[in-house]
Amino acid sequence: MKNIEVPALARVEGEGGLFIGLKNGKAVEIRLDIYEPPRFFEGFLRNRFLQEVPDITARICGICPVAYQMSSAFALENALGIKVGHQARALRRLMYCGEYIESHALHIYMLQAPDLLGKQSAFEVAAIAPDVVKNALRLKKIGNQILKAIGGRSIHPVNVCVGGFYSWPQAASLTALLPELEWGLQASIDCVKWAVTLPFPELEIDYEFVALHHPDEYGVIEGEVWSSKGRKLSVQDYETAYIEEHIEHSNALHGRTVDGNTYLVGPLARLNLNHAQLLPIAQKSLKDSKIKLPLRNPYKSLIARAIELVQFFEEAIQLVKAYKPDGPAHLELKLKAGNGAAATEAPRGLLYHRYQIDGNGLIEFAKITPPTAQNLPRIEADLFALAPKIVSMSHADATLTAEHLVRAYDPCISCATHFLKLKVEEIEK
């Protein structure tokens, strides 16, 4: 069998190449190549005023701008020693609901479902099941509408600032979303039922799962960094356990634990570590699905995403109903030199930011660790685990199976490198 090479991965955000080198029927080399100047944004932020940062970091990714701007806002608030009030925090969670709904609907139906249904793309799915794709677009649009109602713009929201929001959104524009949110909740419950029927490839991996954990809510914006190996750290100590290293073939840094292990962030990690914090309807969906946790099959992250869709529709409805803006939308900033870190859960996994600011509020140092960079070594390791299964397949099937695995991770290559390229190739015998 020939090497597998996919010069540009379709249905992956950003640009990536995958190369799998095969020799005597065994995978001897696997490279996930990244072709983007990796740490551009960290340099770009230096000497900028801190209030510019959320607007700039929102531009790192077109799919998860909220997570990027919010991680930076929380980190800078920590540097200043301030904490936003209850309603601003709730509104920020509502923005994450919008982002998760949009991102997960896109990934489940448009990016990964074609692989599971044996279709080349969402176009082919649209041809056989137009209603499925129409529902997917409707779900995605609801997420977008939440972001637009709060953020002022649907892509790269502009209303978030260090200290809260520039202005409170109109309550009426949020409550107007309720009928669609109720529809979306039912559609996502149905999505879980449908997801468990899909023909997922068999692959069980003994991952170290890492996610943000909060005792009182499904971990998204604050809490501790938990690992399935028992490590529990405050976000401030994140860098003592999780490090990034340069890999020769990749522009992106690769994440490792200090013990040199790979680890997994994202929907599987969140569901496995935080399922007890799911809201009641999401909890019921999980129970009815009869899936056994921990889920260790990377392809089945689609099921975790579907359960999270239920969670975030359910939570969005609660947050919209409870919305009561009161007082100023943002805190007054008193500038001082400081160092602050924050982690939030982007749809693709834990996203860590740390900033050092001077007494005038200018950025002296920025560190951004995106979820895909943390998952890259894990994706490569999974491909090694998958290799024995694919060597007996036809070249086309092997390529598709490997590509599907990478797509199942929903790698946002634009944020990892913040761009990636996937390629699979074969070395001569």
Partner: protein
């Protein structure tokens, strides 16, 4: 009647910002047209599939985006949506959902979208490097791109039968 003028691109990726910059400068240079109540202006970085939401309830649309087709940087392309896929095979690229791909999907799911005349003004990009600003060739092409936007919007505004325009060209 509602005419959408949509600038598409990433503001921190060199010439990819050409679409956003064109729409911004067109608003400055042709304020009377831009202020018309029928005209709805959007600047959208990486809209992906959300482009379909932006096209909802509009009667005509002008999309302005950077393109790469191995032509001379700064060259203008004025196209209907049917011509787009000929030089932008987005489905095989990794840029998520490009304009061509999104319009194809939208039209497959919603035949009514076929009835909406859409004109695309593409500006040939030279480089799309992070944070590098517009290249000289693209910057020099922005005034003619603005004129093209103005021309297309006026054509839609002035032609009572504007639904006949656009996609068949």
């Amino acid at each position: 009647m509602k005419i959408a003028v949509i600038g598409i691109g990433q503001s921190l990726r060199g010439d990819d910002a050409a679409g956003l910059e064109t729409v911004r400068r067109w608003q400055e240079e042709y304020p009377e047209t831009a202020a018309r109540p029928e005209v709805q202006i959007e600047a959208s970085e990486l809209p992906g599939l959300a482009l379909l939401d932006l096209l909802e309830d509009v009667d005509a649309a002008v999309l302005v985006d950077a393109v790469q087709s191995l032509k001379k940087p700064g060259r203008l392309h004025q196209l209907g949506p049917n011509e787009l896929s000929a030089f932008a095979p987005d489905s095989q690229s990794a840029h998520g959902w490009g304009v061509a791909e999104t319009l194809q999907l939208g039209r497959r799911l919603n035949p009514a979208l076929d009835e909406i005349p859409i004109r695309i003004i593409g500006i040939e990009a030279e480089q799309i490097l992070m944070g590098s600003g517009l290249s000289q060739a693209v910057n020099e092409a922005i005034p003619s791109a603005c004129r093209a936007v103005e021309q297309e919007v006026n054509r839609f505004l002035s032609n009572a039968n504007f639904k006949e325009l656009g996609i068949k060209e």
